[in-house]
Symmetry: C2
Subunit: 352 residues, 2 copies
C-alpha cells in the first residue's frame, strides 16, 4: 500500500504473548502477577466513578506523582505517568530518536524496543550480551548518530541484572540518554532510581503490570530530570492516563503492605522454582525478576511449550536466532506455588 | 538541549483546556458532557475488577469492536479502539506521515493536528476555511508530498459541518487518506461512517469524551478499511486500552437509551442557547456540535473570559491570529439548562 510509510508497511509488528480471554488456564507467559491487586483499588475506582467520568482527568496525574515521589524518595517533578510503560517507551523514543538516527539495545532483550525504532523509521543497533549476560565493550562505545540506549535491568528473557556501578559506568561512556527499563526491578535487590538524581542522562522507567498486579490497568511511569520531563509532556497525548487508572495506581502504590507481601511471596516461589526446573534438566540462570529463563539442548522446547498449551498451561517459547545454540528458550513466569507445582508435574510427564 | 530532537525542542506543545481538579465550578471549556455517563458503567468496572486486573487486557478490545459494529452497522474488522481519540490521531499520523512530509488541516480547527505534525517532524499545511466555513479550492488540491488530511466534522471551534457530498468530493480529489474527525458527529444529523465502506481513503475517528460523557475514561476508536487497520495495529501500543475502559465503553455504547436521551437533551439546550447568546450581542454560527462559537468586535472577549473565570465559570477563550478580525472568540460548551442560565446572567452582568 503506497499510502503507508515504508518503515511501517515493511515491519512485521510486535507480537505480544497470548492473552486467552476465557476458560480456565495457568498463565505463565507474560510475567503478570499471579495474585489479585490491592483491595483498595475497587474503592478508589468507585469513588472516581461517583465523582464523574464525564470530566477530563488531570493531564499530569499529580495525585499519583505525589504518592510515587514519597515511595521512591524523588521530587514529584522527576515523575511522569503513562498509559503502561509501553506508552512511556513510545514517548521516549519519539522525543530522542528521529528518522535514520540510531537506537541501541542489548540482545536478547525486550523485542519492543526494535519495533519502536521501526515505527519511528530509525535504525536499531542490537548488541549481544556476553555469554554470562554482561555488556560487551561495543555496548559502551559512543557513535555520532546514537540518540538513545535502552537497557532493561533486570533483563528479559534472562532475568539477569547489571549492578548500579556498571550502569553508572555505561552512562558516563554514552553520548546520549540511557533508559534503564526497570519493569522487573521490584523483584531485585538493587535499582537505579537514585542515580537519576545524580546523573541527568539516566532515565528510569517503571510499570504497574508486574509487581503491582495491574497489567489490566495500563499504568507505568518514568523518572527523569525535570528538563526532560518537560519535553516528554509535549510528546505525550494530553490526557494519556485515564481517571480510573490514576486513582487505582495511586491507591496501589500507597498500599505498601500489599506490595511488600506480594513481592516477598513471588521471590519465595522463584527461589524454589529455579532448582526444581534445574532438577528437570533445564539450564537456568539466577533471576532477579518474576520469571525464569530455561534452555536445554536435549529436548525440543517448542514441543514442551505446545504440549503444555494443550493442557491450558501457557509459558513463553522464545527464539532469538542470532543468539547461541539457536537462541530457543522457555521464559516461565513465577506463578503461585500451586501453579508451579502443577507446571513441574506436567513438564515431568512430558519428559518421561 | 542537544539530546532532544529539534522539532520537539522547538515546538511549544499543545495546551489543553484548563482542568480544575477541585472546588465548585461551571465548566464549559472543553466540550465535556454535563451529565454523568450511563449507570451501567460502575457494574461493568466492578465485574472487571472482580475478574482480575492482574491480567493483560485483550489487545484488540474485541468485545467493544463487536458492540460498536452493531451500533454503527459496519463489520468489526473496520474498527480499532484507542486510548482516547488522541491516541487514534497519533497512530494515524505515525502510520501515514514521515519526517518532512506534509499533513493538511483546515484553519481554524483542532490545534492538536499541528502538534502531531510537529512531534513527527512533518510539515503542516493550514488552509483557511472560507468566510462561511466551507473548504476553499486549495484544500482539495493534490500535492506530491501530501500524506494525510485531517478534517474535523463538525469542526471546532465553529461547530459547523460539511455535507457528506462535499466530503466525498474532497476524498475523490485527494491523493492520500482523508481523516474525518467525528468527535462531535453524534450531535449532528449526518455523519460519514457509511462512506468508509465505499471509499477506502475515508477514515473516520470517534471519541467517548463528548456524547458518551466519558472524557475521564480515555476511549476513542477509528473506522477504516481493514487493510489500514492492520497497519494501525503495528503502530499502536500492544495494550493501548485498559480492561476497565474496554468494559466501560462496551457498556456505554450498548446503553442506547442513555445515549439517545442525553444527546437529545444537549441538542435541546443548544437550540435555545444560541439565540440567547445572539440576544446578548454575540455573533454566532449554527452549531452541529455541543458548543457555540461566539465572536464580537464591541467587547474584549478575553476580559469576559477572565471575569467569568473569577466567578468559577470556565469557557474557552481562543485566538486564531491568522483568522479574520484577529480570530478571537469564546467557545462555550453546552452545559445543563441551569448552567447555561447562570452563564447568561453572569455575561449580562459583565456587559452592563
Amino acid at each position: 500500500m503506497k499510502e503507508i510509510r515504508k518503515n511501517i508497511a515493511q515491519m512485521p509488528g510486535y507480537v505480544p504473548g497470548e492473552q486467552p480471554q476465557s476458560g480456565r488456564f495457568i498463565k505463565l507467559n507474560t510475567n503478570e502477577c499471579p495474585y489479585l491487586p490491592s483491595e483498595k483499588i475497587a474503592a478508589a475506582c468507585l469513588e472516581t466513578i461517583r465523582k464523574g467520568l464525564n470530566r477530563y482527568p488531570d493531564p499530569m496525574a499529580n495525585s499519583f506523582r505525589k504518592a510515587a515521589a514519597e515511595v521512591l524518595d524523588v521530587p514529584p517533578e522527576f515523575i511522569m505517568a503513562g498509559n503502561g510503560s509501553d506508552d512511556i517507551l513510545t514517548i521516549l523514543t519519539r522525543t530522542f530518536v528521529g528518522e535514520n538516527e540510531t537506537l541501541r539495545l542489548p540482545y536478547p532483550s525486550y523485542v519492543l524496543y526494535k519495533s519502536l525504532a521501526q515505527i519511528q523509521g530509525a535504525r536499531s543497533e542490537e548488541i549481544p550480551f556476553t555469554d554470562d549476560w554482561h555488556l560487551s565493550p561495543a555496548f559502551k562505545t559512543p557513535s555520532s548518530d546514537l540518540k538513545l540506549v535502552y537497557l532493561p535491568n533486570p533483563n528479559s528473557p534472562s532475568g539477569t541484572r547489571l549492578s548500579r556501578a556498571e550502569i553508572l559506568e555505561l552512562a558516563d561512556a554514552l553520548p546520549c540518554p540511557l533508559v534503564v527499563d526497570e519493569a522487573y526491578a521490584d523483584f531485585s535487590d538493587e535499582n537505579c532510581v537514585s542515580l537519576v538524581l545524580e546523573h541527568k542522562n539516566i532515565i528510569v522507567t517503571r510499570t504497574f503490570s508486574k509487581s503491582y498486579g495491574l497489567a489490566g490497568l495500563r499504568f507505568g511511569f518514568v523518572i527523569a530530570h525535570p528538563d526532560y520531563i518537560q519535553q516528554f509532556v509535549k510528546v505525550k497525548d494530553s490526557y494519556n492516563c485515564d481517571a480510573l487508572s490514576i486513582a487505582a495506581a495511586t491507591a496501589a502504590i500507597s498500599d505498601r503492605q500489599w506490595f511488600n507481601e506480594t513481592v516477598e511471596k513471588i521471590i519465595k516461589t522463584r527461589n524454589w522454582m529455579r532448582p526444581a526446573l534445574a532438577e528437570l534438566g533445564f539450564n537456568t540462570v539466577e533471576s532477579h525478576a518474576n520469571f525464569i529463563w530455561c534452555t536445554r539442548k536435549d529436548w525440543d522446547l517448542k514441543n514442551i511449550y505446545q504440549k503444555l498449551k494443550e493442557q491450558n498451561i501457557f509459558v513463553r517459547f522464545m527464539v532469538y536466532d542470532k543468539w547461541k545454540d539457536g537462541g530457543c528458550g522457555l521464559r516461565i513466569s513465577v506463578g503461585t506455588d500451586e501453579e508451579i507445582r502443577i507446571l513441574l508435574e506436567r513438564i515431568k510427564a512430558i519428559l518421561n
